[in-house]
Symmetry: C2
Subunit: 415 residues, 2 copies
């Protein structure tokens, strides 16, 4: 049904998952094999106390992703099944020194939890023993950066996105001073880690919003299968892969305290599934520019076929319509690209509705203004999908670089 | 850490998961091996179109649970990782004939979706291809039964539970006319199936409440590991197993239209994790009567050791305190037992809190009044855990028996 190529998640996902999930290898053999892959994949079989020793290779709860490194984990990591995004507002008294303490505490506990160890003041230490590829990724809003190092330290692009005509933004889903992205293949692990980290942060900041997302379960589909969104569309085919030559240039910032970090955009996008239901299959495929069956462009057969935007129908119309999403999202400028890592959401409906669903659109890019905004502007001007989708939340954060074992996230800003 | 015995989930879970997840067998071999186990386990490798043929045995998205049978699926089924419980209120005009049509439509689509086939009017047919052990279990509230067959058809126990002093019930989490329990190892599958079934039901009923729960991910832990709740307690050790000699007597009703069905109780129980954090480890173990490390009774070493309620400390106090949960939950009467199938919940916190978490306590029993109520009454009178837990929702439903391929759920009441 879908190709073996995995531009959505990074090709490393195939080898890693193949290794760890297939059950053919275990113990030192697997560790060594994965080690060769570690620069990109950051994954290895679990070190979780009491888990790694007595479980088969097919039990994935002990799998861990390295916390330390040049970049934070949770960006190029093959997306886990569950992610919770939490934005916090800093308390008035949280000054530069307090920010440093907060990030030191959060870093220590995030590092421990991701390796299957309890947080330092873990009230339920047994719950930390199943990391299931837990990653914790921190992001800073403009107010945090200003408190830490003055307004001049704020990257030009670290501010609310320009207003788009399609936006119906709610403050309760937008902005914030500190971001936590907490992701794991186990929803229980996400819940426990979120609580432990919010306990650490409560003296410094309070929760502004929490957004909970999911993708397919670990092992439910063939590794490398591109995600479908709740419209049924194959979503993410054209995403750059961490193996691509220009990936580093597109994603990693190179200047100042943010060098090795990146920019983060979260657009909470409501999807009107009831209205979508009234559109026929052909209309749905035209709006996207891809088939529903396997995500192939309307000019192709396989998902990863390159779209032919010049192809015309018998009567002279473009096969991939002018208003289609893939045509509008595509730029002539190779720098106007982003790295997506989206999750679905599905809330309990209210007031006679039967669903409240959508996409937590997440993208990483070195410069939000230069890379994300032009794409969004084109989609704002014309994109048939706008008929069924509405951005209801929007947030931009700077993701600091990673740190080594003795350091902490944010040290390049706060150290 | 934990025993190989699986009274929580049924021993069949071990063999089934071992077979399907270990990756050692596939195709016809697995089908035959599992077939021998099917009476209890109801599971077999997937028939999902386009999935079963090209995936390895270790990919679990194609796994299916039989929909048809003497009992509905989703009761003795080893609990899936995700479950959504939806209660609906019938529209005023939904009479006996309409109820029959509704249940015929719902049965048809539930049967299809659980087997990896699209619903009849599926608007996103590709989303149904990953059942991941999807089960759909229907329950009837007293008003539905009365409309279908008059008040005399309502079982004596099918009514709101008696008021308990610990209750702080909210109508928005309680009662209802029709229950859907939709469970799968894949959260995306639960979301899609829920939406398809609510579309079927919308002409007949509207959503009263939706409650979303999770357990550990499929394959994250060794099969048969007893669930921990968000307090970190091993929760469910003493649960009867479908293999137990008296399981059928405890769970399945034998009279009238409900023969082969059962009684369902859902207690939404808020857990005050912040208050729990202030209790030391010894206090936590005393409140439960079991250790936190592995769930062993305070008089034992291993999780499944039989508690010794007569054992005394050096100074003459009971080792398992009088107020402990396991002592209060236990009855001298072997008929006062229930079959639990609980899920955890974790919602976005509001108003300065850092969590809104708890347990969707779910139990199945042939007679709610005789089996569930005496236990709950004892816990209401005295149970140290009441200090940290508060029931905020309560619902009782009658779960009709299963049906065969030509039939529909509820036919014994509506046929």
């Amino acid at each position: 049904m879908t190709s073996d190529r995995t531009p959505d998640t990074g090709r490393t996902g195939v080898s890693r998952r193949g290794l760890l999930f297939g059950g053919a290898v275990a113990g030192l053999g697997a560790a060594a094999a994965v080690g060769a892959d570690a620069l990109l994949s950051r994954a290895r079989p679990g070190r979780a106390p009491g888990v790694a020793s007595d479980t088969a290779a097919s039990i994935h709860g002990g799998h861990t992703v390295d916390f330390h490194g040049a970049h934070q984990a949770g960006i190029t990591t093959t997306p886990q099944a569950h992610a919770t995004f939490v934005a916090l507002d800093l308390h008035d008294g949280t000054d530069r020194d307090a920010l440093r303490r907060m990030m030191q505490i959060l870093t220590e506990d995030a590092a421990r939890l991701t390796q299957g160890e309890p947080a330092l003041a873990d009230s339920e230490p047994e719950l930390g023993a199943v990391p299931a590829r837990l990653t914790v990724t921190f992001g800073f809003g403009p107010a945090l950066v200003a408190r830490a190092a003055g307004p001049s330290a704020i990257p030009e692009w670290l501010r609310p996105l320009p207003a788009f005509t399609i936006d119906r933004l709610e403050p309760g889903w937008s902005d914030g001073d500190l971001l936590l992205q907490i992701a794991s293949d186990d929803a229980f692990t996400v819940a426990h880690a979120t609580r432990m980290l919010l306990k650490d942060a409560r003296s410094f900041a309070s929760v502004r919003w929490t957004q909970v997302g999911f993708r397919r379960a670990f092992g439910a589909e063939k590794p490398g299968t591109t995600m479908r969104n709740l419209f049924g569309q194959v979503d993410g085919t054209a995403n750059p892969s961490p193996e691509d030559q220009d990936f580093d240039r597109l994603v990693w910032a190179t200047d100042g305290w943010l060098a090795g970090g990146t920019g983060f955009v979260l657009r909470r996008t409501h999807m009107d599934l009831d209205k979508w239901d009234r559109l026929d299959r052909s209309g749905r495929e035209q709006s996207m520019g891809r088939t529903l069956a396997n995500g192939a462009p309307l000019t192709g057969v396989h998902e990863h076929d390159e779209p032919d935007f010049d192809a015309k129908t018998n009567v002279g119309f473009p096969v991939i319509p002018e208003f289609s999403h893939i045509r509008r999202a595509r730029s002539e400028n190779a720098d106007e690209r982003i790295f997506r890592r989206a999750y679905n959401y599905d809330h309990a409906p209210s007031g006679g509705e039967i669903s409240d669903s959508g996409l937590l659109f997440v993208s990483f890019q070195a410069d939000v203004t230069k890379q994300f905004v032009p794409i969004q502007r084109r989609l704002d001007e014309l994109d048939l999908l706008n008929e069924w989708t509405t951005p209801v939340g929007s947030a931009v954060f700077a993701i600091p670089p990673g740190c080594s074992g003795g350091g902490y996230i944010g040290e390049t800003l706060l150290g």
